[in-house]
């Protein structure tokens, strides 16, 4: 058993080494490295897609702990300002009727608020106090003053008192949610860009008739595994190049980087998990695509398969994205357990939950499922593709994929 496994790994390495060097030293790899530029350019040209996404994610909610009359005035002022300046420029106001305007422990309410709050306005409209993290308070201080001035319909400027807290439960929760979403988007984008390439991976062997030499020499599992490892290696090289160039670029453009919200497991482990979960997502989707692509005999068939495959990836992304704010709920558990969305759901968990054991279990589950897919793909491939005779060539693509 162990000898067999060793042989599979040895043979897989032979395939991986050939594929890896063939890809890395090809001219097309340079264009592959340039690949991310295209969506970036399109994104920028389409009117600041990134800005819009950021606004959607980072929408502020400010709690209002004022007297009932002043609260009404403030809400009216917000409506008026939103009408004139646009809804997105003015923070959403959440009334906190249970909090007294002169409550001495506002931070406690920030921590226990059911909805993540950026800050809380307390005191009076003439002398408002804004409580929150220094970063949030400085950001929203001006607009809080504007709201108060509008509410009082006065001409004199209002000075907003500030009350800084190091971190609040809700701000931490909110920032971790941002990290979760960011991590998930990075994973999904990279997987979408890279895993689809696996679809056409066996076409070279099939058009060059090399597949029979490989199939006669080493276990078919080793061929599939070797190809996946080679493509994963290539993807990781690409990611290393992109992230290094990105980091250098950021260093020159933004030398004073803002403090990024720390994920629950901490940055080093989060980064490590990001790489591991990318690898798992890549292996899971890649093994499926390799299996489907192996059924195709021509490049045209591969192109035909690309569309449903992309759609499938989008569905997985929607599932994962939907579950990110629903930690512990049924939909989130489903995303965690469903193998194809599991890496995306788990990176979101890494940002929001600090227990590590679940990642070990998830990685094992994902690895096991990858092996199951490879086995199944190999079985289909051997049954439907590796055979001589007219019957094999006459079969339709659908029949081959379905194993009929």
């Amino acid at each position: 058993m162990i000898e067999n496994f060793k042989e599979v790994i040895r043979a897989a390495f032979v395939i991986a080494r050939r594929d890896f060097t063939a890809i890395i030293f090809s001219k097309s790899f340079f264009f592959f490295l340039l690949g991310p530029l295209f969506p970036l350019i399109i994104g920028l040209a389409a009117g600041g897609l990134g800005k819009q996404v950021n606004q959607d994610i980072d929408r502020p909610f400010i709690g209002v702990a004022l007297s009932e009359g002043e609260t009404k005035k403030l809400i009216s002022a917000r409506s008026a300002l939103a009408e004139n300046l646009g809804n997105s420029t003015i923070p959403e106001l959440i009334i906190l009727p249970e909090v007294a305007a002169d409550d001495p422990d506002i931070q406690r309410h920030l921590d226990k608020a059911t909805q993540p709050l950026t800050a809380i306005i307390s005191g009076t409209l003439e002398k408002p106090r804004l409580t929150g993290t220094e970063q949030d308070v400085k950001r929203w201080q001006g607009r809080t003053a504007l709201l108060a001035e509008t509410a009082l319909k006065g001409s004199s400027p209002i000075a907003v008192e500030t009350d800084y807290v190091a971190a609040t439960g809700s701000s931490k929760k909110r920032t971790q949610l941002l990290t979760a979403q960011g991590g998930q988007i990075v994973l999904v984008l990279l997987t979408m860009i890279l895993a689809g390439m696996v679809l056409s991976n066996l076409v070279e062997e099939k058009t060059n008739k090399i597949i029979e030499i490989l199939a006669a020499a080493i276990p078919m599992d080793a061929i599939f595994l070797g190809k996946l490892f080679a493509m994963l290696g290539m993807a990781l090289v690409g990611i290393t190049v992109w992230s290094t160039l990105g980091a250098i670029g950021l260093f020159f453009i933004l030398p004073d980087l803002p403090n990024l919200p720390a994920p629950a497991v901490g940055w080093p482990i989060f980064c490590l998990l990001l790489v591991v979960y990318f690898s798992m997502a890549y292996l899971l989707l890649g093994s499926l695509f390799l299996g489907i692509g192996a059924m195709a005999t021509t490049v045209r068939e591969v192109q035909t398969l690309s569309m449903p495959v992309t759609m499938g990836q989008l569905l997985v992304f929607f599932l994962a994205a939907m579950s990110v704010t629903k930690l512990g709920e049924t939909i989130e558990w489903f995303a965690v357990i469903f193998p194809f969305s599991s890496p995306f759901a788990m990176i979101a968990r890494a940002a929001q939950m600090d227990n590590l054991w679940q990642h070990g279990a998830a990685i094992l589950w994902q690895a096991l499922f990858t092996l199951i897919i490879i086995r199944f793909s190999v079985m289909l491939f051997r049954r439907n593709v590796m055979k001589s005779g007219q019957a094999a060539r006459k079969k339709s693509l659908i029949a081959r994929v379905a194993g009929r």
């Binding site: 032979v14 063939a22 029979e212 030499i213 006669a216 020499a217 590796m386 001589s388």
Partner: protein, 320 residues
């Protein structure tokens, strides 16, 4: 699971393969001894490639058992086997010596050793100038030679070649025959399939003829030849006389030439009858049938049997 005899390179017991209900291989039995050159002959589409693929473990039989070098799991013996498929293929961007090394590496030969051997083998086969060329830059014949060298670079105990002579010119066919003999002299078992009988006749000690997924003949080449009676080519001055009864009744002369199968009674009674009957023998030759004739005869018989069986099945179907 292993086969019983260590002297057997390949053993197949009643292997069957069906594709979409069509039976491509229908209960083939084969036993190939180690150290022999064995030919698998058959017309196109007879089931030769499917049989070889099953023997090599590329596909599994639907029924029956097969053992390669004693193992029921042929891939586990891959490091001792060299295989040249019918449809040749190499990575086009690889350098020639690297392609040989890669094929060796697949079968367990260290890459560095494979590269060294690859260079040496190419130089020994007159391809020294092409060692560092990419496969796409080689001629078809050169690429085929490279693939053949890749098949044997790891010094296998068993070499299986599927239609190795197809696509080669006469010169390269001769080289390949010499290479096969050379391997056999080293004690390597060589099995090759072909539909060109002359190669098998020159190289093989034993053959199997595959027709319509069955094996109507397997054994020594001489035994196959003996399936047919010798052919008599006779030229006489006379066209009729008492000697005429010694010639098969259905044999009609072409001018004064007669061609017929030697009667069961043999040469001497025929000669006696011709001389005593004053046939006036101008020339007489008795030709032993070649493997080609035997092959056509055996394959033809198998095809006729298949046609009869199909017709009977059709008739049964219509009656039902």
């Amino acid at each position: 699971m292993t086969s019983t005899s260590p002297d057997i390179a390949i053993e197949a017991r009643q292997i069957v393969k069906r594709f979409d209900g069509d039976t491509a291989v229908d209960g083939i039995d084969l036993t190939i001894k180690k150290g022999s050159i064995f030919g698998i002959l058959g017309p196109n589409g007879a089931g030769k490639t499917t049989t070889l693929r099953m023997l090599l473990g590329i596909i599994d039989p639907d029924e029956g058992e097969r053992y390669l070098l004693g193992s029921a799991d042929p891939i586990s013996k891959a490091h001792k086997v060299g295989y040249l498929p019918e449809e040749r293929g190499l990575y086009q961007s690889m350098k020639a010596f690297d392609a040989i090394a890669f094929m060796g590496a697949l079968r367990g030969l260290p890459l560095a050793e494979g590269r060294k051997r690859g260079r040496e083998m190419m130089e020994n086969h007159g391809l020294g100038d092409a060692v560092d060329k990419q496969i796409r830059a080689l001629s078809k014949g050169m690429a085929q030679t490279v693939q053949l060298l890749g098949t044997i670079v790891h010094e296998p105990d068993l070499i299986i070649l599927d239609e190795p002579f197809s696509g080669l010119d006469a010169l390269n066919q001769g080289k390949l025959e010499r290479l096969i003999r050379g391997q056999a002299d080293r004690g390597v078992t060589v099995i090759f399939s072909t539909h060109v009988i002359a190669h098998a006749e020159r190289l093989c000690e034993e053959i199997a003829i595959i027709a319509d997924g069955k094996v109507p003949f397997k054994g020594k080449v001489s035994t196959a030849r003996d399936r047919l009676r010798p052919q008599v080519h006779l030229e006489t001055r006379e066209l009729d006389g008492p000697w005429r009864s010694s010639i098969p009744a259905d044999c009609e002369p072409l001018g004064h030439n007669w061609h017929f199968t030697l009667p069961e009674s043999g040469v001497e009674p025929l000669l006696e009858a011709l001389i005593q009957g004053k046939a006036g023998i101008e020339s007489l030759s008795i030709e032993r049938p070649g493997l080609h004739d035997a092959f056509v005869h055996i394959a033809g018989e198998a095809a006729a049997k298949k046609m009869d069986a199909d017709a009977a099945a059709d008739a049964l179907g219509e009656a039902a």
